[in-house]
């Protein structure tokens, strides 16, 4: 007996459909389990974790691990908690996202609406730069940051993230503006509108969705970065991911699993929040990063 509605060609039996739902539910549990374990165990006293039963709900609920992770846990040598590093990450991500998005919008506009010889080549080179393994630039980057006297600072990280974020932000805006009617730009030009006037009055007002996609993706990538943070900003300027890794992998003292889980949720919270609030744009950015050109 066909269960599926008539407008689809694929029909399946009741047994098959039960299996489908079972399979999908099992996978939903598989994907949710780590988040559930992190949440549950961040609200338990340490003994409840070490005595086993990672999956069970807390017997004594406590927010102590959260307070400790936020303000007193030992990161490296100082018992500062993750708060200063959370602030570092924000101070790094906000300017880096803003600058790379503005640059991407301008680049995308030039590359699609002001064709000149070699534009495709420039775009190709920019595109490839998104996909290089960053290990290839670590050594010279460390030297340049040293020469500029901003190694080990948030400014250094902002520079790094802007530089290696421009490729992706240009890709987003270029693909979006490629579909924007060029006749409108030509018409405005004939009416005497200049380069920036066209950008401000014609392109930007319809760029809302792509600005959202670009900001979300730059933010996610920059917030989640570990390699650059670990290479260029250890110590007090470290971003959240580096601080979390130091907290979890520090070899001294008792392993406070509950504090680690609370810290992991804190490190995940901003991007998770963005995903929940603006998942649509998140997915669109994901697809734009895979279907290029």
């Amino acid at each position: 007996m066909a269960i599926a509605s008539t407008d689809t060609a694929i029909r399946s039996s009741k047994v098959t459909r039960t299996f489908l739902y079972l399979f999908l539910l099992l996978f939903a549990l598989f994907y949710l389990m780590p988040l559930f374990i992190m949440a549950v165990n961040s609200l338990k006293p340490l003994e409840e974790i070490t005595s086993g039963g990672m999956i069970s709900l807390p017997q004594n609920w406590t927010i102590e691990p959260w307070l400790s992770a936020w303000s007193t846990a030992q990161i490296g040598v100082e018992p500062t908690g993750l708060r200063p590093y959370f602030i570092n990450s924000i101070a790094m991500a906000v300017p880096a996202v803003t600058i790379s998005t503005i640059a991407g919008a301008l680049n995308g506009y030039v590359l699609t609406k002001w064709h000149f010889r070699g534009a495709t080549w420039i775009f190709g080179l920019l595109l490839f730069s998104c996909f290089i393994p960053f290990q290839i630039v670590l050594i010279p980057m460390a030297r340049i940051l040293g020469i500029l006297n901003i190694s080990g600072t948030t400014y250094g990280l902002i520079l790094v993230h802007v530089v290696y974020g421009i490729g992706f932000s240009t890709l987003y805006f270029r693909n979006y503006y490629a579909a924007f009617p060029t006749e409108l730009v030509r018409a405005a030009q004939i009416d005497g509108a200049g380069f920036f006037q066209i950008f401000w009055r014609i392109m930007l007002p319809s760029s809302g969705p792509i600005i959202a996609v670009c900001c979300i993706w730059q933010f996610t990538n920059i917030w989640n970065d570990f390699l650059f943070g670990a290479s260029f900003a250890s110590g007090g300027a470290a971003p959240m991911t580096v601080a979390l890794n130091n907290l979890v992998n520090s070899s001294t003292g008792v392993r406070e699993y509950n504090v680690h889980f609370a810290g992991a949720i804190m490190a995940a919270a901003p991007t998770l929040l963005v995903y929940i609030v603006a998942g649509r744009y998140f997915v669109r950015g994901l697809m734009a990063g895979s279907v290029k050109g």
Partner: protein, 301 residues
């Protein structure tokens, strides 16, 4: 030749500025790219032929670093691990992603809830993912103890502490992180397939299996290709996940090339060898990305 045209000479500075503005606006990004990407690549390639140790030095030593690199045991480990990790990661993520997409495409009730659940790991940092899975797979507090307490007393799962098996735990965490993304790509592909063709095939008596085998999967080829390119690129770059889960251990058993490069360059003061390993990583990724990007760009023009 606007600049030498007497009619335009000096008279219309504004027009000429307007002609140059697009290039002037693009110039900073272009300069940054040339210096920070291609200049740096050239610099690292140069370093890979020098005797650099703790600091860069400029005395050329020929292919020595590459010869030594391929004699170092840890590089062997890293390459073998990359083979195991990338192979399993790509194949398993693709299979799971494809199955989830096909199943979700059957007019499933609650698709709007399931889809975001499958995809959310992609929003997390590998450090968070690694931390979670490190403790879940830790035999002292995680899955093993829990299963034993539930009555499966002989249950054992201590791969993360086993130098032979630890690399497979990295695969588990990495698949958890990215299979939802592969699902999203296949789902987009499936939604783009014309239902009329399928209906016609059905009238001709094709079974569901035949329709997938003969019509649907062949049409998903671009999605397969994109998934392969993105996943292999992620696998070659993998660094954070290993650092968070095992930090390369037990011993050096979960080293990947990215970890090797970092260790040799910044911890063991063998910058020449580190640079050589980075060059090999770049070449590997370029071998996959350049043809792909070339094809994608050419199609559009």
């Amino acid at each position: 030749m606007a600049a030498t045209d007497p009619m335009l000479e000096g008279a219309d500075f504004r027009t000429r500025l307007q002609n140059w503005l697009p290039k002037i606006v693009l110039a900073p990004s272009f300069a940054v790219m040339v210096l920070f990407v291609y200049g740096f690549i050239a610099f690292t390639i140069y370093l890979s032929f020098t005797g650099s140790r703790m600091l860069p030095s400029f005395d050329l030593v020929g292919w020595q670093n590459y010869e030594r690199l391929f004699r170092v045991r840890q590089w062997d480990t890293a390459i073998v691990n990359l083979g195991i990790f990338a192979g399993l990661y790509i194949v398993i993520s693709t299979i799971i992603g494809l199955l989830l997409a096909i199943f979700l495409d059957q007019k499933i009730r609650g698709e709007g809830i399931l889809r975001p659940i499958f995809l959310y790991p992609m929003a997390l940092s590998f450090i968070v993912t690694g931390t979670a899975w490190k403790w879940i797979l830790d035999p002292a507090i995680g899955l093993e103890v829990t299963m034993q307490q539930w009555g499966f007393e002989n249950f054992q799962f201590d791969w993360i502490k086993d130098s032979e098996m630890a690399i497979y735990t990295i695969v588990i965490a990495a698949v958890w992180q990215s299979s939802g993304f592969v699902m999203a790509m296949f789902l987009a592909g499936l939604r783009g397939i014309d239902n009329e063709i399928l209906k016609a095939a059905q009238m001709d008596g094709a079974s569901n299996f035949q329709m997938y085998r003969r019509i649907i999967l062949p049409q998903l080829r671009p999605a397969f290709l994109s998934a392969f390119v993105i996943l292999s690129h992620l696998a070659i770059k993998s660094y954070d996940l290993v650092v968070a889960m095992t930090d390369g251990g037990p011993g050096t058993s979960t080293w990947l090339p990215a970890l090797f490069m970092y260790e040799y360059t910044f911890t063991r003061n063998q910058m020449g060898i580190g640079a050589a390993s980075a060059v090999i990583m770049l070449m590997t990724i370029a071998a996959i990305m350049v043809p792909y990007l070339y094809a994608e760009l050419r199609e559009k023009n």
